[in-house]
C-alpha cells in the first residue's frame, strides 16, 4: 500500500521539524565553539612560555618588573592596579547605584522615574571610548588642577570613570531585584509603624540581596575587563600604586597597548596576561552562579 497524501505531507513535516531542530542546534553551537576556540587559543599561546620555554609562572605573577626588552615579564603591578581600580570603583559605584535603584523603584514619583530610568539605561549604551574621552577631557584636567598633580591620569581617574560606567548595570539589575520583592513584605513592615526608609533598608534590600549581589558581581566583571576607557585615563605607568594619585596600568591596558607591536615571547606573555584576566572573570562568574542558585532557593 502506498502512502496517502496526508501521510506524505506528515513525513515532510517531520523532516522539516528535525531539520529546523538541527539548524537551531548548530546556531547554539557557534557560541560554544567560539568560546572554546578563544579559550584554547589564549591558553595555548599564554602557557607556551611557561611550558615550553622554562619561564617561571610564579615570577610572572609576582614579578614587579615588566621590561620586555630585558626579557623581564612580571605582571604583579598590573594585578594590583586592576584590583585597586575595581574595588575603588565598587566603593563609589555600588552605593550610588544602589541608592539610585532604591529611589527609582521605591521613592520616585512615576513621572520622575519615567525620565530617570531610560537615562540610566542610555548610559549603558554609550561606547566605552567615549567614557574614556570624557574622563580625559574633564576628569583628568579637573584632578590635575584641583589636586595639584603633575599628571591627572591616575588610579583615582580610572576609579571615577569605572564607577560611572558600572552605574547602569548596578541600577538596572538591582532595580529589577527590588521591584521583585513582594508588596506584602513592605505592607507588613509599614503596618508595624516602621518608616518607609526603615522598611527599605531592613526588609526590602535584604529581600533583594541576591539580585543586588548579582548586580555587584556583574559590574565588577565590567570594571575589571574594561579597556578602552581605562587606557585613556590610567597613565599606564608600570608601578605598584601606593596612592590614589599614582599613574597605573591595569591588566587590560597592558594587552591593548603592547599587542600591536609585540612578537615572540613578548606576545605570548601578553596572552598570559589575558589568562590572568580571564581567571578573574571566571571566578566572578562562578561566584555569580553561586549567588543566583542561592537566590533561586
Amino acid at each position: 500500500m502506498s502512502d496517502s497524501p496526508i501521510e506524505k505531507s506528515n513525513k515532510r513535516k517531520y523532516f522539516l521539524e528535525k531539520l529546523s531542530g538541527r539548524f537551531f542546534l548548530f546556531c547554539a553551537l557557534i557560541s560554544v565553539i567560539s568560546l572554546a576556540l578563544i579559550i584554547g587559543f589564549v591558553f595555548f599561546k599564554g602557557l607556551t612560555p611557561f611550558v615550553a620555554d622554562g619561564y617561571s609562572f610564579v615570577d610572572f605573577i609576582f614579578g614587579n618588573d615588566w621590561v620586555p626588552s630585558e626579557d623581564k615579564f612580571g605582571v604583579f603591578p598590573m594585578i594590583v592596579a586592576s584590583l585597586y581600580a575595581t574595588i575603588g570603583s565598587l566603593i563609589i559605584g555600588v552605593p550610588i547605584g544602589l541608592f539610585t535603584a532604591v529611589f527609582l523603584a521605591e521613592i520616585a514619583p512615576k513621572p520622575i522615574a519615567k525620565i530617570l530610568s531610560p537615562s540610566v539605561q542610555l548610559l549603558a549604551g554609550i561606547p566605552s571610548v567615549l567614557f574614556g574621552v570624557f574622563g580625559l577631557a574633564v576628569i583628568v584636567p579637573f584632578l590635575q588642577n584641583n589636586l595639584g598633580l603633575p599628571k591627572g591620569q591616575s588610579l583615582i581617574a580610572v576609579i571615577i570613570v569605572l564607577a560611572i560606567m558600572m552605574l547602569p548595570t548596578i541600577v538596572t539589575v538591582s532595580e529589577t531585584a527590588i521591584r521583585a520583592v513582594p508588596k506584602s513584605y513592605r505592607e507588613g513592615s509599614l503596618a508595624l509603624g516602621v518608616s518607609e526608609i526603615g522598611t527599605i533598608f531592613k526588609v526590602v534590600i535584604p529581600a533583594a540581596k541576591s539580585g543586588i549581589m548579582a548586580a555587584i558581581v556583574l559590574s565588577m566583571g565590567r570594571a575589571i575587563g574594561e579597556t578602552m576607557a581605562v587606557i585613556l585615563v590610567a597613565g599606564n605607568s608600570l608601578i605598584i600604586p601606593t596612592s590614589l594619585t599614582d599613574s597605573v596600568r591595569p591588566l587590560t591596558t597592558n594587552i591593548a597597548l603592547e599587542m600591536g607591536y609585540a612578537a615572540g615571547t613578548h606576545q605570548e606573555m601578553l596572552f598570559a596576561t589575558g589568562i590572568v584576566l580571564f581567571s578573574f572573570i571566571l571566578i566572578l562568574n562562578f561566584v555569580l552562579a553561586k549567588i543566583s542558585a542561592k537566590g533561586g532557593q
Partner: protein, 268 residues
Amino acid sequence: MKTAINLSNDSSVQAETNKNVKISVNNFNLFYGEKQALYDVSLDIYEKEVTALIGPSGCGKSTFLRSINRMNDLIDNVKISGDIIIDNENIYRTNDVIKLRTKVGMVFQKPNLFPMSIYDNVAYGPRMHGIKNKQELNQIVEESLRGAAIWDEVKDRLKTSALGLSGGQQQRVCIARAIAMKPEVILMDEPTSALDPISTLKVEELVGKMKKDYTIVIVTHNMQQAARVSDRTAFFLNGEVVEYDKTDTIFSVPKDKRTEDYITGRFG
C-alpha cells in the same frame, strides 16, 4: 458617653453604655481617583470587642479596614473625606502615621512574614522602634508568641526561617508580630482565607481570646466566621454600610432586606 451611630437605630446598642467607643467613624468617604469606593461610612467600634465587617467582594470592607491604619496612603490618587477618630484623635489630621500604625496593628490576608527567622520577625517591630536590650526583646518575643498561641509549636526553632512554617503557623506568627508592638487595635483582613479549616479554627479561637486585651476589627467573607467570633457586625454593600448592629441581631433579625438576603446566601 458616645453611642453607636448605626443605621438601624437599634435601642439595644444604645442601651449598652458600659463599653467605650474606641474608633469613631463619621461620614467617611474614599475615592480611588474618580471612583468612589466608600460612601458616608459612619459607625462606632467598641473597645475590647470583635467587630466583623462582612459583605460581597468589592463592597469596600477591606478598603475601610485599611483606612483605619491609613494603609490606603500607599496607593496613588486616594482621596478621603470625613473623619476617623481613635481615642479622640482624628487620624487623618494628626498625620503621624508611624504612631498610628504602632497603635493599630494589622494582620493580612496572606501570611506575609519576612524572609528571616521566627525570632527576628517578631522582634522586628520592637527593634525598629529602638528596643535593643536582648533580654527585653527575648521577653517580648516569648510573650507575643504565647499571646498568639504559637509559642509551644515554635519555641525550639526560633532561629530557623519563618518561611518554613505551615500557612496556619505563619499566620499566627504574623499575629504575634503585630502583638509585639503592643497595639491597642488589631485589624485583620480576611486572616483565615488562605488557611485550612483546622488552622482557621485555631485563629478563630485566638481572636476570641485576644479580645480581652485588644479591640479587633476583622474583615471576613465567611459569615459563619463573623457569627462565631464577633460581637458586632457591619454589613457592607457597594461601599455603604447597610446595617451595623450586634452580631446576634444581624444574624437573627436583620432589619434590612439586603442584609437578610446576603446572610441567607441569596447573593454574594
